[in-house]
Symmetry: C2
Subunit: 470 residues, 2 copies
C-alpha cells in the first residue's frame, strides 16, 4: 500500500484530495505563495490526526497543518507536502456557561464561536477582520491578536487547555479547565504561536467572558500619536480599564476607505491626520441603563472624558456612536483594513510591535528611510495603538522581488533598532524568515532549534517555517 | 585551581559561602528539607551567573538556583549542590511610568517592587503572604499566584520580558518591553514556572497597572461554596470585572486566627461556616469621590450588591471595611494563613486546583476519605476561590512519613479525579514528585523530559526537581 492509499484508508477516500481537488490549497489568501501540495488530508477526529502523523513520521513526509488559511505570512504554504486540514474538526464539544468556557475543535470558525457564546450572554473576545473564515486552530497556532487584545489579551491568553498531536502521532492531552496549574512546564504556551512546527493543535479549552451590556464607541481625531497614547491612559483610568479597542487610522486610510466603499461617509466634517476608533465596554448594569436622552451612563462617562480632552487640546474632534448602526459603521471601516490595504498592485505588508514610547519615532523614521530608497513610494498605516502594534504597508514604485524584500528589511530593521519586534501578531511563516535570521537573538534561535529538534526529530512538521536554517 | 577556588574567583571570596556560613541555605522555610549544600555562590551580575554556569556545566556540578527561599515544595533544597543565590542581584534597573513597566533583577524582594511602583501611583499586582521575603526570581520560577490572580493573573501574566542564563552559561536575552511579540516560540513561558530546571532567571520586564483609587473590602458570610461562586459572578458583572480578591476562609480558619492572634476580633457577631474576604478595586475617579457619609460610590455599589444578595439568601452577613485600618485587619487575617496553618506539629499542606463547578465535591470527598484513613485527623482550608485554588491542610493523628505521604496522595488523587491539578500555584519541587508520577499524562511527562534534555543536556540545573525519574 502506498502512502496516499494508507492516508485514504485513515480519513476515507472522499477526504483525501489530490490534483485539481487540492487546488484551493495550492494558493494562499494573499496570492503570494503558490504551489501544489502532494495531497490534502481532512481528518475527522483527533485519532485520525494521530494515525496520519504516525505514518508521516515513519515516512519522513512533510506535513503542513492548515485550518482557515487566512494567515498573512505563508505559514500554510505546502508545495509537495501533505496538507493536514483541520476544517472538518469543527465541533464545539462543550460550552459551559457556569465556569465560562468553551471546548472547541481546531476547525471551528471564530464567528461560530462568537455566536455560540453570545447565545449564553457570553463573549469569546478574540476577533479580527477574517473572523468569518479563520479557525480556532490557526488562530491559536499563530497566537492571533486583533482589535480586542488591549482588554482581553492575544489568542494565548484565552487558552486554558489544549489538545495537541505530536510529530510522533502521540496525543498530548492538556485539556485542563483550570485557571491555575503549575504541575510542570507550561507546555500549552509552547504550541500556541508555534505555527504547527512543534505539534498539531486539534482542540482547546477557551475562556469566555461576560458580554458587555453597554458599549461606548467613538471616532476621535487627535493631534498626534503621543496625544493618543496619553488619552488612552486617561480613558483607562476613567473607565476602570474598560477600553476594549483603541485603533489607529491615519488620514490616508480614511480616504482610501471612502474611495473604495460605496455609501461610506467620512467620520468628521473635515479630514484629520490622526484618527482613533475607541470602544469601551462594560458589563455593569449601572453603566447600561439609558437616561431620558437615550444615552447610557457609559456613553456619558466617555463623552465627558472626551470633552475634557478637547479642552486640553488632546482631542480635536470626536463623534460618539448613538446607536448600533453607527457603531457597526465605525467597525466596518476598521475591519475593511485588509481589503483596503491589499487591493493595490504591489505591496509590502508588515506587522511590527514597538515599545509604546517609540511609536512616533518608528513612524517618522520608517517613512524617511522609505523615501530614501524609493522616493515615489506610498504607504498606509493602521495600528492597534494600545498594544504598540503597527501594520505599516508600503506601496513601492516597482514590484521586483529584491526591492520588496529590501523594503520589508528596512521596516523590520527600523522596528528592531527601536527595541521592537518584526512580528507582533501575524507570526513568522515564510515571509519573516529573513528578519528572524537578521534580528533574532542567536541564543534565542539556537534555543528554538533545540526545542524543535526535541519535539520533531525528523523535522516533518511544517518544515522551513518559523526557524531559518542555521 | 579547584572548583570552589574558581567560583570564589568569579564572585569574590566574600560571596562564596561554605560550611557554617552556608547554614541558612541548609534548611528550607518549612523545615521539612535539610541538607548542607556544597557551597553558596552569590553572584552580583548576570555575567557572573553566566561564568558560574559555564564552570558547573563543564564540571557536571549540580546547581540549585535560589532567591527568597519562601517556597513550600522543597524546590530550593540543595544537599551537596552549589546554591546559586540571586539575592545580591536586587536592583530595579528601571521603572517606566509612561509605558507602565519595571525592569527588575531576580533578587528584588516583591515588597520593594510594590513600594517602587506605588511611588509612581502604579501597582505590581502579584502579592502573597511572603511578599516581604519572596523575590522576583523565585516568584517567576514558580509562577507564583496569590490573592490578586483573579484580576491580574499569575506571575506568568505579569512578564513581558525575561533574561535567562542557560545551563551552558549562554545568556538568553528576551528582555522585550512589548505587549505583542510573535517572533518565534514563546520561550519566556517555558522558563516561568520551570523552577530553575531549564535555566536561571536573572531579570524580567514586568507589567505595572494603575493603582486603584478606591477599594471596597468586605467580609462576607455565605451559606455554601456554590452560593459564593454565584455571588462572585454577579459581583464581577456589577463591578465590570473589578473583583481583585475573593478569598475563602471557613469557620475553623477564623477560629484559629482568633486563638493565635492577640487582639484579633471576630469578623461577625456569631460564627459562620463559610466566609469570604472580598476586595473590589477601581481606578476610576467616579468611584472614588466620597459622599457626605464618607462612603465612596464604589463602596455603595458593593454594599448595594451585597444587600441584594442578602435578600436572595446568597449572603448571610456582610461587613464592609469603613476605613483603611479595618481593611488592613481583614487582610491581616487572610495573610496570616501560613502562620496559622503551619504552627501545628504535623501537617500535610496541599495546593490543588479544581474546575469551579467541582469545588464543593472536592471538599466533601477529601474530608470523607481523610476520615476513612485517619478518623481522628483534623483539617484546615483556605482558598483563592475565584481561581478554583484550594489550600487543603490535613493534621493527621500521627506524623510518620508513610502516613503523611498517603494523605498527600489522597488529596492529590481526589483533585485529579475531579479533573483538577495537584499543583495550582506552589509548583512541584520535591514534595509533589510522587503526584507528578502518579497523575500527570505520560505523554506530557515525556514531552517535559525531552525539553529538559534539550536545554540542560548534562542535567545540572536543579536536578531531581519537577520531573520524576522515568
Amino acid at each position: 500500500m502506498d502512502l496516499t492509499q494508507a492516508l485514504a484508508a485513515i480519513v476515507g477516500p472522499a477526504h483525501l484530495l489530490q490534483g485539481p481537488d487540492a487546488a484551493p490549497w495550492a494558493r494562499d489568501w494573499t496570492g503570494g505563495y503558490r504551489g501544489q501540495p502532494l495531497a490534502v488530508a481532512r481528518p475527522g477526529s483527533t485519532a485520525e490526526v494521530s494515525q496520519i502523523l504516525r505514518i508521516a513520521h515513519d515516512a519522513r513526509l512533510p506535513v503542513v497543518p492548515a485550518s482557515g488559511r487566512t494567515g498573512l505570512t505563508g505559514a500554510a504554504h505546502a508545495p509537495g507536502a501533505l496538507v493536514l486540514s483541520l476544517d472538518r474538526m469543527n465541533r464545539i464539544r462543550a460550552l459551559k456557561p457556569g465556569p465560562r468556557l468553551a471546548i472547541a475543535e481546531a476547525g471551528v470558525i471564530l464567528e461560530r464561536l462568537h455566536e455560540a457564546a453570545a447565545a449564553h450572554d457570553l463573549q469569546f473576545p478574540l476577533t479580527f477582520g477574517a473572523k468569518g473564515s479563520a479557525m480556532v486552530g490557526g488562530a491559536l497556532s499563530t497566537n492571533a491578536g486583533g482589535s480586542n487584545v488591549l482588554r482581553h489579551g492575544s489568542a494565548r491568553d484565552q487558552v486554558l487547555g489544549l489538545e495537541v498531536v505530536l510529530a510522533s502521532g502521540r496525543v498530548l492531552d492538556l485539556m485542563a479547565e483550570l485557571h491555575k496549574d503549575n504541575s510542570g512546564y507550561a507546555l500549552r504556551h509552547l504550541f500556541v504561536g508555534a505555527e504547527g512546527t512543534l505539534g498539531v493543535i486539534t482542540a482547546a479549552v477557551l475562556k469566555l467572558v461576560p458580554r458587555p451590556r453597554a458599549h461606548a464607541t467613538a471616532m476621535i481625531a487627535v493631534p498626534s500619536v503621543a496625544a493618543a497614547l496619553d488619552l488612552l491612559s486617561r480613558l483607562q483610568e476613567t473607565t476602570g480599564g474598560g477600553v476594549e479597542a483603541f485603533e489607529y487610522m491615519p488620514r490616508a486610510f480614511i480616504a482610501a476607505h471612502l474611495t473604495q466603499t460605496p455609501g461610506a461617509r467620512p467620520p468628521f466634517d473635515s479630514p484629520h491626520e490622526h484618527t482613533i476608533l475607541l470602544e469601551v465596554g462594560s458589563t455593569a448594569p449601572r453603566d447600561a441603563r439609558p437616561g431620558p436622552d437615550g444615552a447610557t451612563p457609559l456613553m456619558s462617562l466617555v463623552e465627558g472624558a472626551l470633552a475634557e480632552a478637547l479642552v486640553r487640546g488632546q482631542v480635536l474632534d470626536a463623534v460618539l456612536a448613538q446607536n448600533e448602526a453607527q457603531r457597526r459603521a465605525m467597525w466596518e471601516r476598521r475591519e475593511s483594513a485588509a481589503r483596503i490595504t491589499f487591493t493595490r498592485p504591489a505591496w509590502v505588508d508588515t506587522d511590527v510591535a514597538l515599545p509604546l514610547d517609540r511609536l512616533e519615532e518608528f513612524l517618522a523614521t520608517v517613512r524617511r528611510r522609505l523615501a530614501e530608497i524609493d522616493p515615489g513610494a506610498d504607504d498606509m498605516v493602521v495600528a492597534h495603538l494600545g498594544d504598540g502594534n503597527v501594520h505599516y504597508t508600503a506601496y513601492p514604485t516597482r514590484g521586483d522581488t529584491d526591492h520588496l524584500a529590501a523594503i520589508r528589511a528596512l521596516v523590520d530593521a527600523t522596528a528592531t533598532a527601536l527595541d521592537g519586534s518584526f512580528s507582533a501578531e501575524h507570526g513568522v511563516g515564510l515571509s519573516k524568515l529573513a528578519s528572524m535570521r537578521a534580528h533574532k537573538d542567536p541564543v534565542a534561535l539556537d534555543t528554538m532549534r533545540a526545542l524543535k529538534a526535541a519535539l520533531d526529530p525528523h523535522g516533518i512538521l511544517n518544515p522551513g517555517k518559523v526557524l531559518p536554517a542555521p
